[in-house]
């Protein structure tokens, strides 16, 4: 299942961060969701990526991220995936609202980033169109908001109805990590991805391991067996 965006990465042009933005979007759009990892070694890769994510996040917000992150892999089918989705939906701890969004917000504020700033940096486009194929922002009057990052599953990649809701929930939540990843680079105003804590997360999804944060210091990496 491919989750495409309505953006052509090759046509994104935001100055110095352009190469990294294109890489993030291309990595995301290449993900084949809900299939087993392509290689058995991806489990150790995913574990390393999670450690990278935590170290980079902790460098930005030492108090919000643990000194030691515990990760464990869980392999299974849709039943196990559903159980993990339900667990994180109902537990008290919310990874995205409790850790990831505050991290992104603090970073963007510290760098003075705004959608308006990125719109000003974008390459000129046809004024007759509301946006171009590489535009990540859209202006309505004096309001500038994100566009193009509303994930869509490719035609023909429909999942059975009982799985579709879960899959959509997970991918839409995960896509916000992709947005934060792009925003981080736009705020950094360069193409060096080495400090971006969200890029290892995007790479983790691409490796076929789906993180579920059970508490502030424990993440389960789920992978499909078939």
């Amino acid at each position: 299942v491919k989750g495409t965006f309505d953006v052509d990465p090759a046509q994104c042009d935001y100055g110095p961060p352009t190469a990294s933005v294109r890489r993030i979007l291309s990595t995301w759009m290449a993900i084949d969701w809900f299939v087993p990892p392509g290689h058995a070694a991806n489990q150790s890769l995913a574990t390393k990526l999670l450690a990278q994510y935590n170290a980079r996040a902790r460098a930005q917000s030492p108090d919000a991220f643990p000194a030691e992150l515990t990760t464990r892999a869980v392999w299974g089918g849709w039943g196990e995936f559903a159980a993990l989705c339900n667990q994180v939906k109902t537990q008290g701890w919310d990874w995205r609202y409790g850790a990831l969004k505050p991290l992104s917000s603090a970073h963007s504020k510290a760098r003075g980033w705004s959608p308006e700033a990125s719109l000003r940096r974008a390459a000129p486009r046809d004024p007759a169109q509301p946006y171009g194929p590489g535009d990540l922002f859209w202006a309505y009057g004096d309001q500038v908001i994100w566009r193009g990052l509303n994930p869509k599953f490719a035609p023909g990649d429909a999942l059975p109805r009982d799985r579709d809701e879960l899959a959509s929930w997970y991918v839409f939540y995960a896509s916000v990590d992709g947005v934060h990843c792009v925003e981080w680079q736009l705020a950094e105003d360069n193409s060096d991805l080495k400090t971006n804590p969200f890029f290892p997360l995007v790479c983790c999804y691409a490796a076929g391991f789906y993180p579920f944060s059970l508490d502030r210091s424990t993440i389960v990496l789920f992978a499909f067996t078939e």
């Binding site: 309505d6 609202y97 969004k101 505050p102 992104s104 917000s105 603090a106 963007s108 007759a128 169109q129 509301p130 946006y131 194929p133 859209w138 309505y140 009057g141 004096d142 309001q143 908001i145 994100w146 566009r147 193009g148 990052l149 509303n150 869509k152 599953f153 579709d164 959509s168 839409f172 939540y173 896509s175 916000v176 947005v179 934060h180 925003e183």
Partner: protein, 126 residues
């Protein structure tokens, strides 16, 4: 890509033109269907309505109020262009898919399905 005209801001105006309205007590926010909204959605809608001060807003005013409310309620809260309807853009949450869209009866709340179809959830303001 949605048509350029659907996503183009209208000429400046201070409020929505008069037009047919959905049912509901005039002058008071429509009650939300509880099952359609998360607690976070309800908080954001309530704050958006407070910012609008009970007036029937033009879409650009509703968009500004919604964006401010999302940014106040959620750290790194963002609104997204989710699509376009006949009357204009559909703007809302990537996660909950609750959005606003302009309509003949004023700015409406909708849920956007994965197929891009919208389900009406009520009016944003009276």
């Amino acid at each position: 890509m949605p048509t350029a005209s659907a996503l183009r801001p209208p000429p400046a105006r201070s409020s929505s033109p008069a037009g047919p309205r959905a049912s509901g007590a005039p002058g008071r926010p429509e009650r939300l269907v509880p099952i359609a909204f998360s607690a976070r959605d309800r908080l954001i809608i309530a704050l958006t309505r407070r910012k609008l001060g009970g007036a029937a807003p033009a879409f650009d005013e509703a968009l500004r109020a919604l964006r401010e409310a999302v940014e106040e309620v959620i750290p790194a809260g963002r609104v997204y262009l989710l699509g376009a309807a006949e009357c204009g853009p559909i703007v809302g949450s990537l996660v909950s898919s609750v959005a606003i869209v302009d309509g003949e009866g004023g700015v409406a709340l909708v849920r956007v399905g994965r197929d891009g179809q919208t389900t009406a959830l009520g009016r944003l303001a009276p």
